[in-house]
Amino acid sequence: MNKPKLIISSAYAASVSIAFAVIITIWAEFFAPLKGWLAAFSGHHWVSKSIFAMLVYVVVGVVFYIFPQKNSDTGLNRGLGVLFTFGILGTVALALFFTGHHFHVF
């Protein structure tokens, strides 16, 4: 097992999963049919988002791990830095979105 490659694959997959969770959450608030479809898929929109967010993480992680990467050692810092940044930005984005949504800013 190539541990650096596993870590960098997981880091990028987690970043994509976070971005996916933020985008689908905001999109579903503005587009009722999407929220309805998410609710119908599993019985609850949040359960569907949980399932899809984990699926995105696993699929993107496997794809990253299977495909060859140049210098996976040196790319580790960048991948983990991207994940750290996405974690902060995702949290702030959701907090600001729901605050703005409550006060009818958008």
Partner: protein
Amino acid sequence: MGIIEIIQSKPVLIGLHLGFAVVGIDVFLTLAGKFKDSTGTKKGRIISAAVGVAALIASWIAGGYYYVVHYGTLVKPVIKAGVAPWVHNIIMETKEHIFLFVIPLSLTVLFISLLEKEELDRLGIRRLATWLSWMIAALGLLIGLMGFMISAAARWGAVK
């Protein structure tokens, strides 16, 4: 009342959600210290990270079950009809969605814990491993704080 019914009851689900989260937070704080100070063994770091991931998954399942089965029908209407409906609209909505970040983040830290100390230094990722572990603990604490506000809003929501 059977054991399954007891586990599925509201107070137990909340207790499991909070209790497992506390374990996860503590473990990732400890792990952050190990990464930062270069202490502990590889085996110890792997066990810590694995326990942390398992605890956060258990917290996610218990909290998710409570949220899906009980919150929407019993708690949300009380908060929405009370003096602080913003607690649902802002706090609960943010809480339920940032929880989705925690498992992929913690699995990535688990994979980092598979490295030897020398590899952590050679690859230059000790600092980011520490920061990511702190981030998981911080998100856990933030989610806990939000949960406290939601419970308080449901308990005191009708009192001005």
